[in-house]
Subunit: 345 residues, 2 copies
DNA sequence: TTGTAAGCGTTATCAT
DNA sequence: ATGATAACGCTTACAA
């Protein structure tokens, strides 16, 4: 590999001059400058970033810790981080905890997590990253992040009370989607929530109720039933809700909404016309069901971008490292299940 | 950050001694050794990997170039690479080309790709990676990889004629799945291929025909119809094939198989009993359709692992860098669409 | 405008 | 057994 020194030799100048040229510093005759540039190009010179970082103390690199790369949200978040990094001329190094691959849905002991995270942080730190972004595999509160790491840390798609965190806004999504339901003519809306202890559920429900209130529609609590995020619970609750005479259902995730679709297809309910249905998550599945499912898209890419830009701002000194919660809005994806089938087959 | 020097000071020894201890070299008194280890631990010492790589010339790091991180296969392949790296005590750096995000399905000009790849290689090389794994976003032949990069290069999920490449075995999958269809009682099998110029299609079809031949079943070419990978083509061709009296359909991807399911549900054909149906790709979708779709799972994780292990072998000198094609077997995922519904709702 | 030289954190050679 | 020192490729005062 060509080094700054070999260029200096070929160009018959000192390494300092080469360095200046390569770093775009002034104080070099244009002629010399061109000559050096030519030589560098001929030699196919590529700076050794490790050496540069060693010298300058800044690696222009951030670390990304992903709880699990194979969970469907993660790649898009990383994509967002990557774009923000590119724009800021930063690099990134990835560390994959493989939590889901390792433990599945089972919670391992907290200290196992703590250890895994600590190891990952150490590896990243050993590589001299200037900061770290932690990407949760689902939206939860993280308690096992190092209280104080030597570099700033930002959470994406999860929150840590002591850190800047970027998440999406469940409450607003619940509000917006309810307005959408009302806009397409719903007047009696049933809701299938997740398990009662889910913070997602309570926020989404809150948004729903607030939207109803703002539209002067009384909220009937009997029309809200808890599911377990799985398809079957959607199926069962759909029956109950339909029996109670709802003309719309807000299913708090797509999987349960698919269950609702199952029920309706069996019961001969025309979803989109007789029943307005909306899910949450924008699974690929939702664009493929019949009818296509209206749903809520979580701004994954944007979460990544925002997390990176928070971190970059901290690194540039533009902003202090302080607890902070950035909430990004979700997008309502309106499809046939609320709009109706324009062109029936 | 604690350095080797600060440890030396605290321990009242020279940095050379510290280095020896930290690298497990002999020639240090056990007492001194323990003392240094203690100090290092107290100071929370972490070696500066960049400095180490600068000095030693080896970074113990490979680069991963992903054509597009958000394409569904990619994360699992990376996961495989990551595990292999961890085991070998290597690190990895990711570069994401975002091809699909940038161009969608449109092919950009070849020189655009060439440039993107060259840039990515340069970035990785600037970070002193010892080798590179190139992950295609779909299985294709790559022509735009640098003829000669300064480090070894291995392709995963795509092939490059001049490089070691790890892919899955379409032909064998076609063979195996046909045997599965025969095993569950099929005797007249229709096949929906992709576009005629797709190499996947020809390999899968070849495997299919070979399996029929081996089982002494005459291949009826009129039962093979080309689709376009999309759902609608599955729907249409299903009608034709069913009209021709097939009792099984091999749809060369899941999406078209879903189209077949659409048709059958409309036509009142009981898939799993009256018609055996198998897809290809193991999309999440396939486990959620009704009936659940039998399909072929591509060994993504294993491809990543194998690619990494090829590269690692080359790096260790255990193997020379030479063109080579590693083909991994796919798994048949048998579900209700070929096994029938054991417990109908 | 150009060059000299120190030093970033390591490793490794060669003295002591 | 231990330590002094050069070198890896680079940046950056400072000197010329």
């Amino acid at each position: 590999m060509a080094t700054i020194r070999s260029i200096a030799e070929h160009a018959h100048v000192s390494i300092a001059t080469v360095s200046k040229v390569l770093n775009g510093k002034s104080g070099v005759r244009e002629e010399t400058r061109q000559m050096i540039l030519n030589v560098a190009h001929e030699l196919n010179y590529r700076p050794n970033l490790n050496a540069r970082s060693l010298k300058s103390g800044r690696a222009q690199t951030i670390g990304i810790i992903a709880e699990d790369l194979t969970v469907f949200n993660t790649p898009k978040i990383i994509d967002g981080v990557a774009v923000a990094c590119d724009e800021a001329n930063y690099h990134y190094i990835l560390a994959n905890l493989r939590m889901f691959q390792r433990f599945g849905h089972h919670q391992a002991e907290e200290k196992v997590y703590t250890e895994m995270v600590r190891d990952a942080v150490n590896v990243l730190l050993a590589r001299q990253v200037d900061g770290i972004i932690y990407i949760g595999s689902h939206s939860h509160v993280i308690s096992y992040l190092p209280e104080y790491s030597e570099v700033p840390l930002v959470c994406a798609y999860c929150t840590c009370p002591s850190l800047p965190s970027v998440v999406y806004d469940d409450e607003k999504a619940g509000y917006d989607l309810t307005e959408h339901l009302l806009a397409v003519g719903a007047s009696r809306i049933g809701m299938i929530t997740g398990p009662i202890d889910s913070p997602h559920s309570s926020s989404r429900s809150m948004g729903h109720m607030r939207a109803l209130y703002d539209h002067r529609i009384p909220y009937d609590p009997r029309l809200t039933l808890p599911g377990d995020w799985e398809r079957d619970s959607g199926y069962e609750i759909a029956g109950t809700l339909l029996g109670a005479g709802v003309d719309a259902i807000f299913s708090q995730n797509d999987m349960m909404a698919i269950g609702v679709l199952d029920y309706c297809s069996k019961a001969g309910v025309n979803v989109g016309r007789d029943l307005k249905l909306i899910g949450f998550d924008n699974l690929e599945l939702s664009s493929v069901s019949r009818p296509r499912l209206s749903t809520v898209a979580v701004p994954l890419f944007e979460i990544g971008q925002a997390a990176a830009s928070e971190l970059l701002k901290i690194l540039s000194g533009e902003q202090a490292l302080a607890p902070k919660l950035v909430k990004l809005s979700c997008n309502i994806i309106a499809r046939e299940s609320t709009l109706g089938t324009e062109a029936p087959e």
